[in-house]
Symmetry: C2
Subunit: 607 residues, 2 copies
């Protein structure tokens, strides 16, 4: 699922602004294609989660699937109406973080941010795990290698995102349409048939070891709520719609709600009628697929489409997390570095971090979708609740016409999602929700600590106050570390002479013969600069130079000291490991241990 942020910017590197390039903006239908995959793909694991919870009370209990699904659909309707109002109030694409920051204050926004991060990671993990289940339903040979399938999928996503991807709504249109047609086809064809066309998977026995009491129903309900993840994506991406922006977005939200509701209820009716219990080796959705289409090509095609759509759903997190991180960085809650999300190396950190966290999670649960579900929906529901609460606060402050009715709608939404969240947390605590309960506060603490650090640094740097006039140093001395007399040395000494009032070259040598040869060559060259040679019998290079620089800086007479390190820059990137590395190492150590200016001078090779 997608939410919390304008994570579906279609050109993530250069965010579109309202009014800019209208023809690149989305119509309602395009919006549905671009922004609904996450939510719709939840039908691959949501209904199954209900069935799996209920079957603990024996196969007879499965008839409760329909009423539970109806309750979830009711919650869905409330969310869709609530988000319709979010769209109207935050046409800039609020998102839980932005809304709670604006309306609820710092603590709530930290909570929103932390649950969003948890959620981006889980979206990747759950979508991949469910995708592997779908693929293994079609190709049973993969049944024992689901973790491997997930990790291969993750590697694929990571690779694509590291190279940089420009998503386009039009590319997503085809898989979305195919997916909707396939799922609705299952519902319609399945209901038309008097009994399932085919049965797949191996039968399993389910002795009833619990009774169908309230607790079990609540468990099934909270598992099924994973089907709701993703419905907030549209509200977060209002700026990507074509004008009339918020009307189109609201229409798309309604379409998404209707489609998802029809799918969920339709599948639940089929599950009830055909008494679908979990079977070995296949998903519940795959059983329903076989029941409607038989086991011919349509069965394979549907499972492949479901896999593809889940992979695309996982991909949305890779677009979303960097946006969230950049917002947090601008609020001084993550390293400022991440504010530069448009810069490729920074963007890559985010991609790799997300991939690693998802990989760890997948390995920890051995790619078992059902062990991830308890962790999944909690973050989402925190986001839902904070968005609605923010709107209630908004209405109470602004008091526009009809604000009471509006506040009632959002308040009901908040109440329902809080209730669902509490049910989720209590019934799923031991099954994995405790991980989220630990991770979220830790992350909030981290964000708060970072923010405090930046505040203190700002004070120390005197940000916002006019400093004294710059110190005018009397003169400057530039030290040039060299290995040989060569064109590189010539280039470096030239640059140093332009920057320094005085220049001195320094070389480190382990071998007396080489020292003598270097001394002679220097005298023959005679560049008008002194050469100091440091003896280093242990062949260490960095430490002797650092010691030398510290000595010079100590008796520097208040001069500005700079070390100018010439580096050979090969033309081809593949040669980079062969050059410069010693210079970089020296620069790093000098920067951490001395207060001198460290300069790098590139010398470009033709090679």
């Amino acid at each position: 699922m997608v939410y919390g942020l304008a994570r579906r910017e279609l050109r993530p590197r250069v965010p579109l602004r309202p009014g800019e390039g209208e023809k690149h903006h989305l119509t309602s239908l395009e919006g549905l294609a671009a922004l609904s995959l996450d939510a719709l793909s939840s039908v691959a694991y949501g209904p199954e989660a209900i069935v799996l919870a209920l079957v603990a009370a024996g196969t007879g209990a499965l008839s409760a699937t329909l009423p539970i699904t109806l309750a979830i659909t009711f919650l869905l309707a409330a969310l869709v109406i609530s988000y319709g109002q979010v769209i109207a109030v935050h046409p800039d694409g609020g998102g839980a973080y932005a809304v709670s920051k604006a309306e609820l204050g710092p603590a709530s926004s930290l909570l929103a941010a932390a649950s969003l991060v948890v959620d981006y990671v889980l979206t990747v993990a759950v979508s991949l795990a469910a995708g592997a289940d779908a693929l293994a339903s079609a190709f049973p040979v993969l049944a024992h290698d689901k973790l491997l399938v997930c990790l291969v999928g993750l590697a694929l996503l990571t690779g694509v995102n590291l190279r940089g991807v420009t998503e386009s709504a039009r590319v997503l249109m085809l898989p979305t349409v195919l997916f909707i047609v396939a799922i609705l086809g299952i519902v319609v064809l399945g209901l038309l048939r008097p009994h399932p066309a085919a049965v797949v998977g191996t039968a399993q026995s389910f002795p009833a070891h619990e009774t169908l009491g309230l607790l079990l129903i609540l468990k099934a309900f909270s598992s099924g709520c994973s089907a709701l993840t993703g419905v907030e994506a549209i509200a977060n991406a209002v700026p990507t719609f074509r004008t009339p922006r918020f009307k189109r977005a609201q229409r798309t939200e309604l379409m998404l709600g209707a489609l998802l509701g029809i799918m969920l209820v339709g599948l639940a009716v089929l599950i009830r009628r055909d008494r679908v219990a979990p079977r070995g080796g296949v998903t519940v959705l795959a059983q329903l697929t076989a029941g409607a289409y038989g086991t011919g090509w349509a069965y394979y095609a549907t499972n492949i489409i479901v896999t593809l759509v889940l992979l695309l759903a996982a991909n949305t997190s890779f677009g979303g997390l960097p946006v969230l991180m950049s917002l947090l960085a601008r609020d001084h809650r993550l390293p400022h570095l991440f504010g530069l999300r448009a810069e490729r190396p920074v963007y890559r950190y985010g991609v790799v971090a997300l991939a690693l966290m998802a990989a760890l999670l997948l390995i920890a649960v051995n790619a078992d979708t059902h062990r991830l579900i308890p962790l999944f929906a909690i973050g989402v529901f925190i986001g839902f609740t904070l968005s609605q609460l923010g709107l209630v606060r908004h209405w109470a402050r602004q008091k526009p016409e009809g604000w009471k009715r509006r506040a009632l709608i959002n308040g009901t939404g908040a109440l329902l999602t809080t209730l669902a969240g509490v049910i989720l947390l209590t019934t799923k605590f031991l099954e994995g929700a405790w991980v989220v309960v630990i991770a979220v506060p830790l992350m909030m603490l981290l964000f708060a600590r970072i923010q405090r650090y930046y505040t203190e640094v700002g004070k120390e740097l005197g940000l916002g106050r006019i400093p004294g006039p710059p110190d005018r140093r009397t003169a400057s001395l530039v030290i040039v570390p060299l290995g040989d007399v060569s064109k590189l040395a010539r280039h470096a000494i030239g640059a140093a002479l332009a920057l320094g009032d005085e220049v001195v070259a320094v070389a480190v040598q382990a071998d007396p013969d080489k020292t003598r040869a270097l001394r002679e060559a220097w005298e023959r060259w005679d560049p008008g600069v002194r050469l100091d040679i440091i003896d280093s019998p242990h062949r260490s290079l960095v430490q002797p130079i650092v010691d030398y620089v510290q000595r010079v800086a100590h008796d520097g007479d208040g001069r500005q000291i700079a070390v100018l390190i010439p580096e050979v820059e090969p033309r081809h990137r593949r040669y980079e490991i062969l050059q410069n590395q010693r210079g970089l190492l020296l620069a790093t150590v000098l920067r951490s241990r001395t207060d001198v200016v460290v300069c790098m001078l590139p010398y470009r090779l033709r090679l």
Copy 2:
């Protein structure tokens, strides 16, 4: 096993030189402790490899273990005598790489280097895998988690080596003595008992699906040769002995040969007498241990000592590979960076690279020792052969008294090891030796390519020729990228004024309000330097500055252009990710895309 280089320098960061700190040098016995672990620990997998090869012809074929072991011991004797001569000729600790470079020419030394690298990696992998086998023999609960045990051991070694370790012969003395006592105890006690004291492991049936022909005997022989790995370590570490250096080293080599020979033959006699066949869950050595000591505390203690000694054997590679890499770097066959092995960050690259390669190998064979053995001994035998051949060439060139006899000894050694190597390669090709056959030439090619690159760069830089006089630029311009008016700006402008004839500050802003505020603050501060503000609506920082610098450099009138990037240096390392990263990113991009001098100016926080 250890060989090829003085890899057992006892203080790897500061190599001892002959004559330096005599009391830190080794006596013969200390040398045995420090340098024999690798070779002696081979008894944990060598005899087992023979048994496993022979059992393909049924348990009756196991009686061939003794004659095959005798043949291997004969080869051992030849190697020990040969290496006695290597010690005398190369008291600086020749090693296969150094000897073949000095005596045989570039191609042979590349071959030696590549097989050494392969071998360091395999030493780690085989020792860890055999260690996991030994541990699982004592604690069967680990039998299904051998890969995990190996990876934990590897992580341990990597961690210790990343922190830096000063090995001491005295620390190694205790495990070595315990190991020798334990193994000799097995032989003596085992032979004294009329029949095994206890039998461990689960029986397995071995239908004879091959006949005991020449091919099978050669296979068993070549598998058993893995027991010889490590006997060259002493010859490589002569400089670490106390004077009379080479006498002591030769004595140690003889002791090692005698001990290893006695152990191998003793264990083979026991295997033959007790008809020891492979059993499930335990190693052959563990079976012999139980046969001699029963299954009481001595059984556990012995297996734990064997595990520990194998772990220490794996550790030797972590000391050895960086030494080899630094020699290769000095010969321009690896990035020059690795020549700085004494510098901690560089040393760490080697440790991490070795750990990764060993981990991949262990994962690839699922920590199965017997799948690693075919890859293992080939590299070793290439090293053996090249060392002996080098000595033959040495004798033929120098022609000292008795050179013909000496050349005959080394020639016989070379012939035998070549023969063993060819047998290894042909009988084990499909079982894994092909990996080495592919890896070694690829690595040789890589080394040669790197060397060619450095030669060409040297030409381009005019190394060895006196360059023209340095260009004297007319003047210099220093550009200072800034974000705010603060103490940091004051510090940076001050340094820039000392270095440049002209200074200009530049800021990137996305927000018109902030631009105005910055402009005002600058005017109030009035540091006597122009401020250029670049508009960047897309919040990109790096690209606008690079464009600006390129523009300035283009109309620079031949002035030397420098960019001075101030960076906030936090006092605590843990805050580093919070600072500087944007400056570093900017510096990296400027260095790769422009020809200006890039300067970093640290500003130290008290925080």
